[in-house]
Amino acid sequence: MSHWLRSYGLLLGWTALRSRATLPLNLIIQTFLAVGIIVGFAYLVPEMDDATALYLATGAPVLGLITVGMVIGPQEVASSKQEGIFDFNRSLPVPRSALIASDATVALLTALPGMVAALVVAGLRFDLTLHISPLVLPAVLLTAFTAIGLGYGIGYGLAPAAARMMSQLVVFVALMFSPITFPASRLPDWFESVHRVLPFQYMAEAVRDTLNRPPEGVAALPFAVLAVWSLIGFLITYRMTARRP
């Protein structure tokens, strides 16, 4: 265990050093994305009522997490595979799980400022009174780790070119066709059923219901589904990292 923790700590420092170069750009993009969703999506809606405002305000940070985890994540993994960084990392005398954990930690730390920015912008744009539940912390962490885990799963599980295309598809589906910034009831029945399996709706629900607690309380289902998806993502990642062709 001490070897694991020592490796994790050192890898964390190493990954953080290497991410410094791209961090500012990452933060700028995330902030613009948040502003874009909150300000831009509002143009699509003729009348802004409280319910719509809540969907946009709580959906924007979720989309930020999805962007960092499932779009930037697979693209970075694809590049690291093509540049030989993946093989280099695999040759290091550290546990594979410590390698993945340190990468995921840095991705999480990268995603959080954008998420906060989204909430700040939402607060400025809409006149919302939120009833925040303490469960917001696990909700955000679980959403972030689901996005990061699945992003890595895409990146490691697919060939680089396929991973890049898949990440484009994810952002497209998440942004336009997922019940994140609007209620699922607006979708056709078949699409609503698809979203009962996909993680997007549950990410949005977990974050929305913990940022503004509904009278009936926070549902457990989204947390359970997200835990399963996140596990699947990290298991694929672990398998591909430990794989010896």
């Binding site: 890898l11 410094r20 093989d87 290091l92």
Partner: protein
């Protein structure tokens, strides 16, 4: 008795699709020894390294790193082996000092020792001027040297270097070779892949020539040189090699000539040397050849004879019948 730290026996690696990247490779590297692995691109050298490092599993055969099996205990072997990969090390945003020190720490050194070792390597490789410059602003050579420093920081028992001297300037190349020797002197077994035959001839203890996944020849530079025909080579350069007349009857060739586009190289024994020189002078005086030279046979000649038969890098292969590789 010196121990073999790295033992590879009858190693076979088949990829899906049937490519045999390694086809019955056997080799040993002792503690304190530097072994050079020569071979064309695609000869199976990097595949071999990946299997020793526990990143790929052999189809059959055995590997032992200081008695430890990388197939059964990959995590343990990764701690005993340091690899400098052929690809550039991930240095974007990181300085050589940070990279070498972090790798020393990841490989198990404490803070104080890692700092001392980093300073030592930066000094020895003359990297001081760039030690605190981030990777994206470093030249290819400095990046290579940093990657070497990362592997050599706390090298373990077996060090594998994949083309360590590429892009490195001639002065630092010497420093790099000194440090490679220093690793061996510390008791490491060093296996290094190179395409630079002349460098390998000067700097390694033993050479293994690979081709098509097999070991074609193995030995010291002198042993390998003795496999070739003749002690000298008469090189004639002309506008076209076809215009060069055949060797006169009174000069005995030691083997078949090697023909390139503008060059003919004829192997000779030492007693034929003076007659060959005189013939070369005649040809030049007559304007048949532009240049001629009588040079001692080097490892490159052996290498071309051994490996040149498959995907020769240039037009050096030609009429020579029997191959020494057989």
């Amino acid at each position: 008795m010196v121990e073999d730290l790295l033992i590879i026996e009858d190693l076979v690696k088949c990829y899906r699709g049937g490519t045999r990247a390694n086809d019955g490779v056997s080799l040993q590297v002792e503690a304190g020894e530097v072994v050079g692995l020569l071979g064309h691109n695609g000869a199976g050298k990097t595949t071999l390294i990946n299997q020793v490092a526990g990143l790929a599993v052999p189809t059959s055969g055995t590997i032992r790193v200081d008695g430890c099996d990388p197939v059964a205990e990959p995590a343990r072997v990764r701690r005993m082996v340091a690899v400098m990969p052929q690809a550039h090390a991930p240095l974007a945003g990181v300085t050589p000092r940070q990279a070498i020190r972090t790798m020393a720490r990841i490989r198990g050194m404490n803070k104080h020792d890692s700092r001392a070792r980093t300073d030592e390597l930066i000094g020895a490789l003359d990297l001081g001027a760039w030690a605190d410059t981030t990777g994206e602003r470093l030249s290819g050579g400095v990046r290579r040297l940093t990657a070497f420093g990362m592997a050599a920081s706390s090298p373990g028992r077996v060090v594998m270097l994949d083309e360590p001297t590429n892009d490195v300037d001639p002065v630092r190349r010497r420093l790099l070779w000194e440090q490679i020797r220093e690793l061996a002197d510390r008791g490491c077994a060093v296996l290094l892949v190179t395409h630079n035959v002349a460098e390998a001839e000067r700097s390694v203890d033993r050479i293994v020539v690979m081709g098509s996944g097999k070991v074609l020849a193995e030995g010291t530079a002198a042993q390998l040189r003795s496999r070739t025909v003749g002690e000298f080579r008469l090189e004639l350069t002309a506008p076209s090699a076809d215009g060069i007349p055949p060797l006169p009857g009174h000069i005995p060739a030691a083997g078949p000539p090697l023909r390139a586009v503008r060059r003919l190289a004829i192997p000779l024994d030492s007693q034929a040397a003076s007659a060959a020189l005189a013939w070369g002078q005649q040809l030049r005086a007559a304007g048949v050849v532009d240049e001629f030279a009588l040079v001692p046979v080097g490892l490159e000649d052996v290498y071309l004879q051994l490996a040149g038969g498959e995907t020769a890098p240039d037009a050096e292969k030609g009429e020579h019948g029997e191959s020494l590789a057989a």
